[in-house]
Symmetry: C3
């Protein structure tokens, strides 16, 4: 890759990360709406959902201060999106539907960037893919814990499976030496396609009780 390509990729990555953070923040803020919280509850849940997964990834990898400490853009974006959501949430006709598609986008982006960051830090493949899953899903898990939701919901509809597929698709292409931007786009598309199918056709893994 030439220097220009690397810069382009970095720029694309930054934009994608910010987009993913923004949609996760909105998804978190919509949950705050469902719980009838005040505007600071919106900001807290929105920010935690937007930044939580990447924060836990950075802490586990030892990338500290975590990525949003020295650059106020990330926290600022989450606060901004949460406030916007506070004022426009009532106008969103089908809140649940909007929420689930936004989640799908954020999930697809984060499982790939999370895997990439861990792989770049030298973690083995299995751990890198796990870091993709952590980046994609732990913001939502913290949100669910804070909102008092049942975690089971988060495991249905292939949520973690999607993150594994997205991270693995990126990972395999990355480790065989494919062009980085291609590997990332492939991972994002693989995750988003699977998640879309799961949402549209209501796919889910059999639960333990159904299996019994």
């Amino acid at each position: 890759m030439t220097m220009a390509h690397i810069l382009e990729l970095d720029f694309m990555l930054s934009l994608l990360s910010l987009f993913g953070i923004a949609v996760f923040a909105v998804s978190g803020a919509l949950d705050a709406a469902r719980k009838g919280m005040d505007i600071l509850g919106f900001i807290l849940i929105g920010t935690v959902t937007g930044l939580g997964g990447g924060t836990i990834r950075d802490i586990l990898l030892g990338n500290v201060p975590v990525y949003w400490i020295m650059d106020a853009t990330y926290v600022g974006l989450c606060i901004f999106m949460s406030i916007i959501t506070y004022f426009i949430a009532p106008k969103l006709a089908s809140r649940a539907k909007t929420l689930i598609w936004m989640d799908a986008l954020g999930l697809s982006l984060f499982c790939v960037t999370g895997t990439q960051i861990a792989a770049t830090a030298g973690a083995p493949p299995l751990i890198s893919i796990c870091m993709g899953v952590v980046t994609a899903s732990f913001g939502g898990i913290i949100r669910d814990v804070l909102c008092g939701y049942d975690l089971i919901l988060g495991n249905r509809e292939f949520y973690v499976t999607v993150a594994v597929v997205g991270g693995s698709t990126y990972g395999i292409l990355h480790w065989v030496g494919a062009v980085e931007s291609l590997a990332m786009i492939a991972g994002i598309l693989a995750a988003f396609s699977l998640r879309s199918a799961a949402i549209i056709w209501g796919w889910s893994l059999p639960s333990y009780q159904e299996k019994k």
Copy 2:
């Protein structure tokens, strides 16, 4: 500032921190009383409430080992206060009221010291104030999660607003170059006044449902 002033300030800060940790530990232990826990539950919830906010701040900033690892004073103080609370809790006439005023004190101290520590570590203003909020409120948030309380309660009565006001008051004075001790006292007083008013007159932000 002369060296003597710096030493005085450091000493004052240490004392204030210990006082804040002690009151948060008592507040946590009183929650353990409400949940009917055994003495180790008191110690666990008391210690987590006392040290949790600063611990998360240190982890996010990369200040590791976190502040209480190499000096047993902090953990020792929390354990001591939790045990004391275990034995005197039944004698406290109005537990809820005691709890809320202790919380107000700890909150006012921690939002200022948290902001200060992050600002000193080079974090931008927005992030520094967030670290003040984290220091002041995440001990209580972890306590609420562990006790199974509804998070909404923690957001009422201006709790986070108070931390933002305290941290910002300190921050503005700090960044314009005011004497450090003055900036801190102003921040603590601003936070405590607002919190007191909110408690006395029952102020709260409108919740999303009320607004609708």
Copy 3:
């Protein structure tokens, strides 16, 4: 100690750690069974329970990347044990009983290794014993929070007391200069004996309500 002894001890320690992680993962996966989760829920809860305590210990001590990042054995083992549990759980006659004895084993191992790691890192005695308690119990606490269980249950039957006794027994022998392997075995046996007695005779600390 000769080099051969040190290598033997290291090998024994690694084996014990892996055994403790495996039984905690199974115990977590059995909880996922009780909540009727899908196979990914089993893996999530199993892995978090197996690695959670040591992860929080490492984060607090600043041992980052945490111990399972650069070596996929730990996460691989947790995933493997969780999957096995998913398929054999229905055949386990008395799930609750199996769960409690496995927990007892993991608890006894982790309170000692956790204390040892913190003491080696230079933490004072009180903090080292606390790190033993954290290593032994925070995986289970995270599991309980994720599964929505009431925390009080986790504090009964001497759970934390056992970790304190195991860590202190090891610690006293360690600090007076006993042979390391002897100190560890003594700590593990002390913890396991107390826990066994507590399980068999149903010992528990008086709760606050009973005391009143």
